[in-house]
């Protein structure tokens, strides 16, 4: 390569490298270093693993994480089940403008902020809200129904927020499935279920995995939805991190929780990949 070319390449890459370095890697390194410092006295800190030990020895914290992880997996599965027929319709039935319209419709809720979307759900679900009112009007309930502040509401809100991120990679994967392959599946005697199970789903697997990773990570790391829709029993792990940083002023502990969230959710994704025998490489290429 000529020096001039090398310089051009460098200049072209510079924003990306700066972005990666300054905004992603550097803060993470700082958080990592922070997570190993322990307070011994006012303004005196020393190196140690205490913040990590705290997570494993205090049941409160790892239970909160386990709860967050299990609910996130549930959210991912529900999102997948709901998104699949929609993606199927967008990829294989809808044509031209209808297809663009449908994708736009999926995108529409994301034009307002997550907070506004969540507040919208609160208006629907609260005791004096629209759904409770309708239930009473139609005689299905005799008194106001509280649908808010429980795990169901949290899952609903998170699924709603995750749908788009599941639909897009799924629709992408399904679109590349040749129609004649599906027809061959039927032609050779397969029922709808067999074709779905043995042909459509295996073909869509990279999309399923990509969508699931995205939705899982977004869900595990979500903050506003569980806080606003969640009940008095529902503590999301991110709330724990927020609490450590902001209300407890315990940055090292918050940093350790942050790193643990990163590591543990990555481990879950890795386990998921192993379980479905997918590799991250092919998944990323597909997505």
């Amino acid at each position: 390569m000529k020096p001039a070319h090398r310089l051009t390449l460098f200049l072209l890459m510079a924003p990306a490298i700066l972005w990666l370095g300054l905004l992603i890697i550097l803060p993470h390194v700082e958080i990592l270093i922070l997570s190993f410092s322990q307070r011994v006295a006012p303004r005196v800190y020393e190196f140690g693993f205490g913040n990590y030990l705290e997570f494993f020895t205090e049941p409160l914290y790892w239970r909160t994480f386990a709860r967050t992880a299990i609910m996130s997996i549930m959210v991912t599965v529900i999102t997948l089940v709901l998104a699949f027929p929609i993606a199927m319709y967008i990829a294989r039935v809808a044509q031209g403008r209808v297809k663009a319209m449908l994708l736009l419709l999926c995108l529409l809720p994301f034009w307002v902020s997550e907070l506004v979307r969540t507040l919208g759900w609160m208006m629907l679900l609260r005791e004096t809200g629209i759904i409770s009112y309708l239930l009473r009007m139609t005689g299905l309930a005799s008194q106001p129904v509280e649908l808010l502040y429980n795990d169901g509401a949290v899952i609903l809100g998170l699924v709603y927020g995750g749908l788009l991120f599941m639909i897009v990679p799924l629709a992408n994967a399904l679109e590349s499935l040749e129609p004649s392959v599906v027809e061959a599946g039927f032609d050779l005697g397969g029922s709808r279920w067999t074709v779905l199970r043995r042909i459509v789903i295996p073909h869509a697997m990279p999309g399923i995995v990509a969508g699931s990773i995205i939705v899982f990570m977004l869900t595990v790391g979500n903050f506003a939805t569980p806080v606003l829709l969640g009940g008095k029993n529902g503590l999301w792990f991110t709330e724990q991190i927020y609490a450590q940083f902001i209300t407890r002023f315990n940055w090292p502990q918050g940093a350790a929780f942050g790193i643990l969230l990163l590591l543990l959710s990555s481990a879950i994704v890795w386990a998921g990949l192993r379980l479905t025998r997918q590799s991250l490489g092919t998944t990323l290429r597909q997505a």
């Binding site: 039927f186 032609d187 050779l188 005697g189 397969g190 043995r198």
Partner: protein, 361 residues
Amino acid sequence: MSQSTDLDLVNVTKQFGTHAAVNNVTFSVARGEFFSILGPSGCGKTTLMRMIAGFENPTSGDIRIRDKSMIGVPANRRPVNMVFQSLALFPMMSVGENIAYGLTCRGVGRAEADERATRMLERVGLKGFGERRVTALSGGQRQRVAIARCLVLEPTLVLLDEPLGALDLKLREHMKIELKQLQGQFNTTFAYITHDQSEALVMSDRIAVMNQGRFEQVGSPRELYHNPATPFVASFVGETNRWQGDVASASNGAVTVRLSTGGMLHGRGGVSQGAALSFVRPEAVALAQDAAALSSLPNRFEGRVSAVLFDGAASSLLIETPGFDQPVRAVLPQAGPLAGIEVGEAVHLGWTADAMKVFAA
């Protein structure tokens, strides 16, 4: 009659809006027959095949397989299997799984299905390929897998939708023969659709020539080639010379045609007056160095070679002939006195009246 047929179509019509993709088609395919439907793209042959497979429903008419109406029977319940144009192998499965797929759909146990798939692979010459990914196969091997996947189910009828289209020429020639052999070996009824007349001619027991949603003619390859029933069949099946003119005189099947450019031609056909189309196969054109050798032929002309189109056994000559608006096409002689004929040389040419088919234009 119907006892020995595997497939009967009775007055089958398929309308897409006001357009009739398939228009009142009736035919039967006998047991063990290799039946082809030949036609240009858009003639309705794919729609016809998809109706037989069960992916489309006819607007009217009946499709019967071994005397059972297939109307309302879904594709996965028909004793018909299809080899797709793209082959449509399942890329997510190994070769063996592809072949065992249909068996497991029928509820055949895993072990038995594998066993039968292995045997089938042996029969199509792919022994030991069971574990391979389908993406790791050559074109010809994929072809065989696609066919084996159908044959393992022992269907009444195998439909083949231009399966050779994607192959290169050499392999295509080879696969034509192999397909025919496979069909004989398994003694299964094949219905084959193609726009390639050579594929149809080489492999088929009978061919239906289809045009604009209708069957023009159904017959053996020889019948179609030598006795085309319509000008479309005459020009679509095989190479041919085609001239337009007017009937000068006609009696008892013998027709004399006057070309607008002056030539007078003698042939046979059912037309008695008006505009006419005349067809002569290149191989029916006799060539000679002197006129005397052709003296017994009713059609005799002298021309000059304008082009030599060398293509091995399919080579031909274009001969600029006075009285014709375009050069006469003849087979390039590659033995005898005219072997090595060059552009610009004079040559005598002629053909019998039987060799020339005349149709009303």
